[in-house]
């Protein structure tokens, strides 16, 4: 296969050289650039052959190689030959090459979109198979979750995912946001309207580095340092349920991880408030903090709210921290010292065991993924709508 690809590229190179050389022969005429004539031939030599090979590789595994190889090489020769034959003085090769470049750019941008659609389709498919076994109501609102023990028995028992969604919500949206929103917002206010330019120059990138730390690092910080400390604190406070897999430990660390997301979107929203609004407030005799509270924050609120929703969506989807620091036992409790689990944690548990691929247990992972996906999609949608409204209000 490698040799075949090299051969196709080799032919394309020959096509380039041939086109280039031929164009040089009539380069005296205006509007002809030899380089572009070369590219024109090269593209027509390489692209159809590569497309053919790609289709072949996708349709059947590489057991049969001779036939596609012959076809590809033939196609390369025919394509290149036809393109070469079209070259003549005044032939606008550049325009045609440009069109192919645009098509390539479009195709590149489609990859991400098609991938998203593909993921959604596969989640829908596998989720549909799951919901054929377990009723959706049972799954979404049932409170008993123990999928590891259902082999043989009733497949719908132990498939109540409510404790998981509660855990994700409690850790990601309540505890983590309880940390990230105030700290992120206050640091954004400081950075956007109080910090001297010199402070801002190092503090803003430093804060954003937090977002670049691999989540597994946060994970072991949570599991090794924070979780035992929280448990000891809980025990010292006399809380019976205090656990080293507490919601509080995972949520606190996740909150720290999310701070830069909140602060960076809030900073953008606050900095986008027109300077003359702040000056109008100051000129009326308002203090800087009154100006922040009564003018800047209300004006920037849609943008800030959008940023917080994006942060929630990230926190709810966060996996590594909860795999390392949260519990695997699903319970519903509002006690932050008690163990808690999340949707993402359970997906990992379901798929890392040994199981046949279409048992209800594995399918449950897809169903969880589907619900999580729809949830975060919805959050992102609302967040972007809120942020767009801010843009419209300013225009």
């Amino acid at each position: 296969m490698t040799a075949l690809l090299l051969a196709v590229f080799g032919l394309a190179l020959i096509g380039w050289l041939a086109g280039h050389a031929r164009a040089l022969a009539f380069t005296a005429s205006r509007g002809v650039l030899p380089r572009q004539q070369g590219w024109y031939v090269a593209v027509w030599t390489g692209l159809p052959a590569l497309a053919l090979l790609l289709c072949w590789a996708m349709m059947r595994p590489a057991d049969e190689i001779t036939l596609p190889a012959m076809l590809a090489l033939l196609l390369a020769l025919v394509g290149g030959g036809l393109a070469f034959a079209r070259l003549r003085p005044g032939f606008a090769a550049g325009k045609r090459v440009e069109r192919i470049v645009v098509a390539a750019l479009f195709a590149a941008s489609m990859v991400a979109i098609v991938t998203t659609a593909g993921i959604l389709l596969s989640l829908l498919w596998e989720g549909g198979r799951f919901f054929a076994i377990v009723p959706a109501g049972e799954f979404l609102f049932g409170t008993h979750w123990s999928p590891q023990t259902i082999e043989g028995g009733d497949p719908t028992a132990g498939m109540g995912a409510l404790p998981l969604f509660w855990g994700s919500f409690f850790i990601g949206a309540v505890i983590a946001m309880g940390v990230a929103v105030p700290l992120g917002l206050l640091s954004a206010i400081y950075l956007s309207h109080y910090a001297a330019p010199r402070t801002r120059r190092w503090a803003k990138p430093a804060l954003e580095v937090l977002a670049g730390i691999p989540t597994v690092v946060y994970g072991y910080l949570a599991a090794v340092t924070v979780a035992p400390a929280i448990r000891d604190l809980g025990v010292a406070l006399g809380i019976g349920a205090a656990s080293s897999e507490s919601a509080l430990a995972a949520g606190l660390v996740m909150g720290v991880m999310i701070i830069p997301f909140v602060s960076s979107t809030a900073d953008d929203a606050l900095s986008a408030v027109p300077r003359t609004l702040a000056e109008a407030s100051l000129a009326l005799g308002a203090t800087p903090s009154e100006t922040v509270r009564h003018v800047l924050l209300p004006t920037a609120l849609p943008g800030i709210a959008g940023g917080v929703l994006l942060a929630v969506s990230r926190a709810v989807g966060e996996t590594m921290i909860v795999v390392m620091a949260a519990s695997s036992v699903a319970t519903i409790s509002a006690n932050p010292f008690a163990p808690a689990t999340t949707v993402t944690r359970q997906i990992v548990d379901l798929l890392t065991g040994e199981a046949t691929f279409d048992s209800a247990k594995t399918l449950a992972a897809f169903a969880l993924g589907l619900v999580l996906f729809l949830l975060t999609l919805f959050l992102n949608f609302v967040a972007l709508a809120a942020m767009r409204r801010r843009g419209a209000a300013r225009a």
Binding site: T276, A280, A283, L284, G285, E290, P298, T299
Partner: protein, 254 residues
């Protein structure tokens, strides 16, 4: 200092970073007059305006030298609170900049900040008085709860004037208040300036020389950060002492 002088400016120089914006300017703002500051863009007239209410304090790297007084008190003295100063020296900006709140809340903003209203009825009465003085009451009396941004540009600017008037300032600074308005909106603001004269000392920056001639009693002409000429408006426009002033007001500048 004469009895009628509200603010004095003596040998004031301003720098933004290393760049001088204003050099050795001295002039008086009279209690019952409108003074117009004219001159080409970048000549320092807006800088002088922002020096009078210390709004330049919030600009990083701005530095002021010289003496500015309000009723004989040094505006830049360490004991002077810029916040209290700005309650006495109101400002209207170049483009209308109402807060994205309701019409009522825009006018009530300064009253609430300074705790000037006793109860709801008093607040409403003061809002009405400010809007009446700004010549906007008749147009908005039935829609005080509407967003301020739903008003026309000219109405927004009069709302900004009402917002400044509500806190009962003694001096009003206007930074090209009509530059974003159409001729009708401009005429209304000029009329309003005439109504407000006598009650407040007014200092207006303008690019429009006809406007300066219409609304002001005194005019100061600036060029390149220096005060070139300063005197009675009628005198300065009909019989300028300096060649540069004459070139500028006759449109032969540059």
């Amino acid at each position: 200092m004469t009895a009628g002088t509200k603010m004095t400016v003596r040998d004031v120089s301003v720098w933004y970073g290393a760049k001088p914006a204003l050099s050795n300017v001295s002039l008086d703002i009279e209690r019952e007059e409108v003074i117009a500051l004219i001159g080409p863009s970048g000549c320092g007239k807006s800088t002088l305006l922002r020096t009078l209410n210390r709004l330049n304090d919030s600009v990083a790297g701005a530095r002021v030298q010289g003496l500015v007084t309000l009723d004989g008190e040094d505006v830049y003295a360490p004991a002077t609170d810029p916040v209290a100063l700005r309650a006495r020296v109101g400002m209207v900006f170049q483009a209308p900049n109402p807060f994205p709140k309701t019409i009522r809340e825009n006018v009530a903003y300064g009253l609430r900040i300074h705790g000037l209203a006793r109860g709801r009825a008093d607040l409403d009465a003061q809002v009405e008085r400010a809007l009446t003085r700004a010549g906007l009451w008749a147009e908005v009396r039935d829609r005080l709860g509407d967003p301020a941004l739903s008003l026309s540009g000219g109405q927004q600017q009069r709302l900004c004037i009402a917002r400044a008037l509500a806190v009962e300032p003694e001096v009003i600074l206007m930074d090209e208040p009509c530059s974003a308005l159409d001729p009708i909106g401009t005429a209304r603001i000029e009329e309003l300036i005439g109504d407000l004269r006598g009650r407040y000392a007014i200092c207006i920056v303008t690019h429009n020389m006809q406007q300066a001639a219409r609304v002001s009693q005194r005019t100061a002409f600036f060029d390149a950060g220096r005060l070139i000429e300063y005197g009675a408006t009628s005198e300065l426009f009909t019989n300028p002492r300096e060649t540069r002033t004459r070139d500028y007001i006759t449109g032969r500048y540059g």
